[in-house]
Amino acid sequence: MSSAFSAINTIQPLHRTIDNPSVSPFLGSTHKLRSFPACNRAPSASWIRRRFSIVAVSDVVKQQKTKSGSSLSNLLITKEEGLELYEDMVLGRSFEDMCAQMYYRGKMFGFVHLYNGQEAVSTGFIKLLTKEDCIVSTYRDHVHALSKGVPARQVMSELFGKTTGCCRGQGGSMHMFSEEYNVLGGFAFIGEGIPVSTGAAFTSKYRREVLKEANSDQVTLAFFGDGTCNNGQFFECLNMAALWKLPIVFVVENNLWAIGMSHLRATSDPEIWKKGPAFGMPGVHIDGMDVLKVREVAKEAVERARRGEGPTLIECETYRFRGHSLADPDELRDPAEKAHYATRDPIAALKKYMIENKLVNEAELKAIDKKIDEVVEDAVEFADASPHPVRSQLLENVFADPKGFGIGPDGRYRCEDPKFTEGTAHV
C-alpha cells in the first residue's frame, strides 16, 4: 500500500556498506551513532550527554516512522495539506519545464539551473515555514522562491530580464531575492549562502537576546548541494552555528552530481550527515524523493531550531532529472541511473499515496494540474508583456545611499544631477 513510502525501499547505496541492510539508512544512522567509536579517553559526563542529544532527533522520528509504517497514512497528512504539497510540487515542476521551453525559444538566457526531480525537498521544508522565516539558496533557486511564496509572475519576469521581476531584472536566474518573503538569495558561488544564512540566524538570536524582541524566533533554512559539503565555508559555519546554538537548519540536497563530478569521486567520506555530529549537532539522513518523509524530519528540525536548541544537518538524497544547467549536455550520468530515479518521481509518488489512501480523487488532482498550467502560462504572458528596464536603471541601486556615487565635476553630489537618472549623465 504505502510501499512507495516505506522506510526500507530507498536510495541505492552506490558504495556504502550498511551494517544491517534490512534496516533503513535512516535507522542505520542511529545505529552508526551508537556504535560510534569513542576516543581512548574515558567519556566524561558531558560527552555522554552530548552523544544522547545527538541521537535524540533520529530517535523521535524513528518512533514516528514505526508508528506510521504500521497504521494508515492519515497520521502523516490531512487532505488539505496533501493538496497544498501536491500543488506546490506541480507548480515547481511546470514552472521549470516552462523555463526550459522559454530558454530554447531564446526568451531566457545566460545560466539557468532547473530543479526537476528535487521538488520534494523544497516543498517538504519550505511549506512548514512562516513568512518571516528565511531561506537562502544557491543558483538552483527558482523553486525555492516559488515555494516560499514569491509569485510565479515575478519569478518569470525576473528570468526574462524584465523590470517587473522580483529584482527588477537586475539579478537574474541565479539571484532571486525577496525582502517581502524573506528569500535572502540566490548565490552563484557554492558555499556562499551558508555563512549568509548563518548570519540571518544570528540576527534572529541577537534580536531575541540583545534587542529583547520576545517573538523573534525566526528560523533560517540553508539549501546547498553535495559539492558544497567539501567547501571550507560549510565547515566553518557548522562550527559556529553549533557553538552559538543558532536557529538554522542546514539542508543538503545531495543529488549525487556536481555538474559532471560524481559525489563519490569528490568526497573522502560521502556520507554527509555524519559531518553534523562531528560539530555537535544532529546529522540526519533522509530520502529526498519522498515529500512526506522530508516533511516529518523537517518539522522536527525546524521546531528544534525555533525552541533554541540549535542547528541540525539534514542530508536529503535526491536527484535532478535534467542536467546541471540548460547548457549541460549531461553525458556523464548513466541512463540506467536516470531511469531508476525517474520511477521515483516525487510527484507521482505523492499522487499514488494520496489516491491509494483515499485522501483525494483523480479529478481533484487534475483540477490542480490545470490550475497550475494556467498560472504558469499567465506568468509567461505577463513576463512577455512586461517592459525591459529603462536605461537609467543601469546606475540605480548600486548604493542604498545614493550619495555614494560621489561628487560630480560641478562639485555637487552626482545623484542630484537631474541627468543622472536619465542615464545620460557622465559618470
Binding site: 535572502l184 548563518t198 548570519g199 540583545v210 566553518e236 559556529m240 548604493f399 560621489g406
Partner: protein, 375 residues
C-alpha cells in the same frame, strides 16, 4: 627625524619616553597644521575606540565581530573596554574563520543588524573577499534595492614594520575598483572618528582601511570632533595644506609623509598643496581636479603596488578632465613592484619615503633633479 622616531616606535614598542618625544614632535608639528583651535590631543586608537563606543551605545543593532576583539581587548586594542561595557553578545570573539564570520556579518546585515567586522589585518580579508564583494557589495544591486547591507569591514591595511610580504599589502586599489563598496582611508584622529561614525551609520557596505603605524600617533583634536554626533561626509577629500605650485594627493600614512615633504619643499620655495583623499571610493575627483587646475602639477603618493593603483586612477582622471591645465607630466609614487621584503633596509626602499616625494615635486617643478631609477 620624525621618520626615525617612528621607526623606533614600530620596532621597539611604545614606551613612555619615546611617546613623549613623539608628542613633542607632533605638538611642534601641529602648529604648522591648519587645525581649528586644537584644545587637546587624541591618538588614532582612542579615536576609533571612542567612535565604536559611541555608536554602539547609540544604536543597539551595532555589534562588533572579529578575532580577539573581546577578551583580548582587540588585537591592536582598538576595541578595548567594549566587552566589559556591552557584553559578549555584542562584542563577538570568533574562531579563525574569516570567510565564515564575514559571511555571517553579511547575513546579519541583510536582516537589519549593523555589524562591524574586524579583520586582524586586511591581508586576511582575502580569505573573505568573496563575501565582501559578492554578497555585500553586489547585493543591493542584484536585489534591486530590496536588500541593503549596512556593514563595516575594518582593520589595519598596508605595510607595518618588518612584518613580511604576507602582512604588508595595501588593498585600497583592489577594493576601490568595486562598485557597491565604499572605501575609506583615514589619516588623523579627526578622520578616524568622523569617518568611522559615518561608516557605521551608512546603509551600504564600507571597507575602512586603517593603518597600524598610525594607531599610536597623536593628533590635536577640537571640541567639535569630540561631539558624539560628529560625522565626516563620505566622498569628500580634505585639503590638509594649501599651496599653489604642485598638488600632492595621498591617503592614510602617506599624508603624514606628504605633509613633511611639503615642509621641506616650502623651505626651497615650492608651495605644495597636500590633499588627504579620505575616501578612495567614491573618489573626490572634483577636489583633485580643482586643485590641479590651480597648481598645474600633480603627484600622487600611495603605499600600495604601482600597477592599477589608486594613483593610476587619479592620474588618468586628471589627464582626462584637466589636460589643458597640466604644465608637467603627472607622476605617481607608489610602493615598489615587489612583495614586501623583510630586511629593514630593503623594506625602507620598498615603501615611498619623504625624499622620494620631495624629489618628485622638484621634478614636476623642473628643478633639474634627474629621474630616480625605478626600483
Amino acid at each position: 627625524m620624525l621618520g626615525i622616531v617612528r621607526g623606533r616606535i614600530a620596532r621597539g614598542g611604545v614606551n613612555a619616553s619615546s611617546l613623549q618625544k613623539i608628542r613633542n614632535q607632533s605638538l611642534i608639528y601641529a602648529s604648522s597644521r591648519s587645525y581649528s583651535s586644537a584644545s587637546k590631543e587624541m591618538t588614532v586608537r582612542d579615536a576609533l575606540n571612542s567612535a565604536l563606543d559611541e555608536e554602539m551605545s547609540a544604536d543597539p543593532k551595532v555589534f562588533v565581530m572579529g578575532e580577539e576583539v573581546g577578551e583580548y581587548q582587540g588585537a591592536y586594542k582598538i576595541s578595548k573596554g567594549l566587552l566589559e561595557k556591552y557584553g559578549p553578545e555584542r562584542v563577538v570573539d570568533t574562531p579563525i574563520t574569516e570567510a565564515g564570520f564575514a559571511g555571517i556579518g553579511v547575513g546579519a546585515a541583510y536582516h537589519g543588524l549593523r555589524p562591524v567586522v574586524e579583520f586582524m589585518t586586511f591581508n586576511f580579508s582575502m580569505q573573505a573577499i568573496d563575501h565582501i564583494i559578492n554578497s555585500a557589495a553586489k547585493s543591493n544591486y542584484m536585489s534591486a534595492g530590496q536588500i541593503s547591507v549596512p556593514i563595516v569591514f575594518r582593520g589595519p591595511n598596508g605595510a607595518a614594520a618588518g612584518v613580511g610580504a604576507q602582512h604588508s599589502q595595501c588593498y585600497a586599489a583592489w577594493f576601490g575598483a568595486c562598485p557597491g563598496l565604499k572605501v575609506l582611508a583615514p589619516y588623523s584622529s579627526e578622520d578616524a572618528r568622523g569617518l568611522l561614525k559615518a561608516a557605521i551609520r551608512d546603509p551600504d557596505p564600507v571597507v575602512f582601511l586603517e593603518n597600524e603605524l598610525l594607531y599610536g600617533e597623536s593628533f590635536p583634536i577640537s571640541a567639535e570632533v569630540l561631539d558624539s554626533s560628529f560625522c565626516l561626509p563620505i566622498g569628500k577629500a580634505k585639503i590638509e595644506r594649501e599651496g599653489k605650485d604642485v598638488t600632492i594627493t595621498a591617503f592614510s600614512k602617506m599624508v603624514g609623509y606628504a605633509l613633511k615633504a611639503a615642509e621641506i619643499l616650502a623651505k626651497e620655495g615650492i608651495s605644495a598643496e597636500v590633499i588627504n583623499l579620505r575616501s578612495i571610493r567614491p573618489l573626490d575627483r572634483s577636489t583633485i581636479n580643482a586643485s590641479v587646475r590651480k597648481t598645474n602639477r600633480l603627484i600622487t603618493v600611495e603605499e600600495g603596488f604601482p600597477q592599477h593603483g589608486v594613483g593610476a586612477e587619479i592620474c588618468a582622471c586628471v589627464v582626462e578632465e584637466s589636460f589643458e591645465y597640466l604644465d608637467a607630466p603627472v607622476e605617481r609614487i607608489a610602493g615598489a613592484d615587489v612583495p614586501m621584503p623583510y630586511a629593514a633596509n630593503l623594506e625602507r626602499m620598498a615603501v615611498p619615503q619623504i625624499e622620494d616625494i620631495v624629489r618628485a615635486a622638484k621634478r614636476a617643478c623642473y628643478r633639474s633633479v634627474p629621474m630616480a631609477a625605478t626600483a
